[in-house]
């Protein structure tokens, strides 16, 4: 065996990985991929016979592979060398990563929009939709030719058949040259994009926009697209947001200190710092604002926008439809505000049924 350098190297590599996997403490979550990782499953005879234990062990070996992030990046680099630009269902165009949107479903948009219309009808309140398109829709020239993309304008028109849709897309289109309205490595809109969304929402809500405050800037932001396709050498983004100081945040009834999570800002998924990530019910309070309540149904696209809108209302109550389990009609009727603003990424509307599945609709 001594004269088998190749065999010994490969076996050594595998054994080294095995030992580190067994000895090193398991990681709870992958910040890069933004998901929970499988832990070592406890052995049970039943689990072995049914195959569940085996499946979990296979998943554990993959999830807890030592140097996993390095291996994932190596795989992305390999795909890049082969000229592939659609790894991890993200499409690369130069320094930008885009969502592959050919699987988006008009039916899903229709059902969610219909549910919003039903909410308007059952509560007697005005419900309008601020749907944020994806970066590919605003910067099509950066997307590789003939990429599998969906027509987002058509999806917005589909939604508009059911419910008033705020004219966000034209506003974004007229501002797209001035500044990048989206992050290159993340699916969210940038600080500039959020400003456009803010003015659009103000116009619809009859508010006059307040001047922009000095924004916070955090370089080295690698977002969700990057997590799915961590291409080595891709420059990071700078996370930009401007949060007013006189707005207070409480999550599921518990008051937080400040509007963002300083711990998350130090991690990979910096966007999760905004409003401490996504929660079923949050409330923003602004004592200096006049009376009034704004009710919001949201996904994470609203997290950078709500603090700006909060300056105009004493209360902003926001429900994340993906986590909310109570009856939405009863919930909305508890509040006096006459408008329900739905702030959603078009992606979320077109790939899931979170609004449609809300209790009470």
């Amino acid at each position: 065996m001594k004269k088998a350098p190749l065999f010994l190297s490969v076996i050594g590599l595998l054994i080294l990985l095995m030992i580190s996997q067994l000895v090193l403490p398991g990681r709870e979550i992958s910040k890069m991929e933004n998901r929970m990782l499988t832990q070592a499953p406890a052995f049970t005879a039943e689990g072995f016979v049914s195959g569940d234990w085996v499946d979990q062990l296979d998943q554990f070996s993959a999830d807890q592979l030592p140097l996993r992030d390095t291996f994932v990046a190596l795989h992305a680099a390999w795909q890049h060398v082969l000229g592939m630009r659609a790894g991890g269902d993200v499409i690369q165009g130069g320094d930008w990563l885009f969502e592959r949107s050919d699987g988006w479903s008009p039916r899903s948009v229709t059902l969610n929009a219909k549910a919003l219309a039903k909410l308007a009808q059952r509560t007697g309140k005005r419900v309008c939709l601020l749907a944020v398109p994806s970066s590919a829709c605003l910067y099509p020239e950066k997307v590789p030719a003939y990429a599998p993309m969906t027509d987002e304008q058509a999806l917005l028109d589909t939604a508009a058949e059911q419910i008033p849709v705020l004219p966000l897309l034209p506003a974004l289109q007229s501002a797209r040259e001035e500044h990048p309205l989206y992050y290159r490595t993340d699916h969210h809109w940038s600080g500039y994009g959020v400003q456009v969304g803010y003015t659009t929402a103000c116009a619809a809500l009859g508010l006059s926009p307040l001047p922009e405050e000095e924004p916070q800037q955090y370089p080295g932001f690698y977002g969700s697209y990057y997590a799915r396709h961590p291409l080595p050498g891709l420059p990071g983004d700078t996370l930009v947001f401007s949060f007013p100081e006189d707005v207070r945040l409480s999550i599921n009834g518990e008051e937080k200190e400040g509007l963002w999570d300083a711990d998350a800002l130090a991690g990979r998924d910096k966007y999760a710092a905004l409003l401490y990530g996504n929660h079923a019910v949050i409330e923003l309070t602004c004592d200096s604002a006049p009376e009034g309540t704004l009710i919001v149904i949201k996904d994470s696209y609203a997290n950078a926008l709500l603090p700006l809108l909060a300056r105009h209302y004493r209360h902003v109550v926001a429900v994340d439809a993906r986590d909310f389990t109570d009856n939405i009609v009863d919930f909305v009727q508890k509040y006096e505000g006459d408008t329900v603003l739905c702030v959603y990424g078009l992606y979320t509307l077109a790939t899931g049924y979170s609004i449609y599945r809300l209790e009470g609709l």
Binding site: A4, M18, F71, H75, M84, G88, Y146
Partner: protein, 451 residues
């Protein structure tokens, strides 16, 4: 357990190969048998008793068949042995289909899941019994050695189909492969794993991306090309991994593929594709039926029998049966009508086309799906959306085609032999790339669950 899972790579493979290496001879077979049982039980523990029972029957029948004085009812004994094996195969693999054709008992059949590797297991055992019956090998006396031969994990679930005669000597010596065997075994294993993980898996994604384009003729043909490459590299990868692991354990497994897409004729293709299976059908079905020695009509009949069975072996559905018949037609036309009348290049191209159209049948889930695919392949519609995917997978295709060219592969092998450092770098590099792909990828299918 699959070779391309991290559990296998990180735990099973190093542990088994190293422990086996250092064990004294009397424990080597029993250890390998136990390891193979764990390997098999990993996916399907409930089937182990079935396989153990078959193993006992095969060993007993073989032993009895090999008695020096031929026992009375020699033939009947062989029949019983074959019946047990093919009966199990028939029951688990084909009863659902056959009952469905008859229109009865569909519910009963739906609950039967196919035990992994049963087609390989039973064929290997049946071949052994026939060999012993014919007197071409002496029966294995030790049940442990026999179990090791049949159950040996490298070839248990995806071939190659090994003859007892090929392994007999290795089963009865202290297996201690030298440095050269260990190195070349590991290099082969890394190459096979790369064929599966770095070529076949992404080619499978390419197939799906092109298929998703629907009615687009170039897309449909690209999907067929992608699938043709996927199934080759997948199957090749498993076989080469088996040969590599076998070598690290001190066994020599037969080669299962020899550049099939470089075949000059369809006959030639089947001398290069899944060689151990076509060899099995040749030796145990075609030649006993008389082969080509009993006149044209009988030869055609024999071919029909062999190729229907070959098709049906790959899965219990009309599509597989038709796939076999398709080869019967191609081979008959080639043998009796064309002979050598076609220009060589044209014959080569037609062969490749015939093989690819065969895969369209093979990949389709039922005849209606095949008909849909066929319509797409000849829809004469063109869409620009194929262009993105064409560029996306262009390099992968080139790589795949390159590894189908015998000269290219042989040159690479020659270089690896001449420069050990180059082989070291390639093997370690491929292993790292495979680990990277496995760490992330969710698409890692096992294609032979219907075999």
């Amino acid at each position: 357990m699959l070779f391309s899972s991290l559990t296998f790579l990180l735990y099973f493979l190093p542990a088994v190969v190293l422990i086996h290496y250092f064990l004294p001879q009397r424990f080597q077979n029993v250890f390998l048998l136990a390891a193979s049982l764990v390997f098999y039980a990993w996916g399907d523990v409930r089937r182990v008793p079935l396989f153990a029972a078959l193993l006992a029957v095969d060993w007993g029948v073989g032993w009895r068949l090999g008695q020096a004085k031929k026992p009375a009812g020699h033939k009947a004994l062989l029949a019983v042995g074959l019946l047990c094996n093919f009966g199990a195969l028939l029951f688990y693999k084909y009863s659902g289909f056959l009952l469905g054709v008859l229109g009865i008992g569909a519910g009963f059949a739906r609950d039967l899941t196919l035990p992994l590797g049963i087609s390989f297991f039973t064929f290997q055992a049946a071949g052994y019994l026939i060999d012993v019956y014919r007197g071409s090998v002496r029966p294995e006396r030790s049940p442990v050695a026999f179990g090791t031969f049949i159950f040996l994990f490298p070839q248990l679930i995806a071939g190659p189909i090994v003859r007892y005669g090929d392994l007999r000597d290795a089963l009865h010596v202290r297996r201690r492969p030298d440095g050269r065997a260990l190195d070349s075994g590991m290099a082969l294993f890394a190459a096979g794993l790369a064929a599966k993980v770095l070529l076949a898996n992404p080619l499978g994604e390419a197939y799906q991306a092109y298929r998703a384009l629907g009615n687009d003729m170039p897309g449909a043909w690209l999907s067929l090309a992608a699938y043709s490459l996927q199934i080759y590299f997948d199957f090749l990868g498993y076989s080469v991994m088996a040969v590599g692991i076998g070598r690290m354990l001190g066994f020599t497994f037969p080669r299962n593929f020899r550049h099939p897409y470089a075949a000059a004729t369809v006959t030639d293709f089947w001398r290069r594709w899944h060689i151990t299976l076509s060899g099995w059908f040749r030796d145990y079905v075609y030649i006993p039926l008389g082969g080509s020695r009993r006149g044209t009509a009988r030869t055609v009949l024999n071919l029909l029998a062999v190729w229907s069975l070959t098709g049906f072996w790959h899965g219990a559905d009309w599509t597989f049966l038709l796939w076999g018949v398709w080869y019967f037609v191609l081979l008959t036309v080639e043998k009796f009508l064309l002979r050598d009348r076609l220009p060589a290049l044209l014959h080569r191209i037609l062969t490749l086309l015939g093989v690819m159209l065969g895969w369209a049948l093979f990949v389709s889930d039922g005849l209606p799906a095949f008909w849909e695919y066929l319509k797409q392949l000849f829809c004469f519609r063109f869409d620009t959306s194929v262009l993105f995917w064409l560029r996306e997978y262009a390099a992968l295709f080139l790589l795949g085609v390159l590894f189908c060219v015998p000269k290219a592969v042989e040159t690479m092998k020659g270089l690896a032999r001449r420069f050990p450092a180059l082989r070291w770098v390639s093997a370690v590099g491929l292993m790292l790339l495979c680990l990277a792909a496995l760490a992330r990828s969710t698409y890692n299918p096992f294609l032979y669950f219907r075999f």
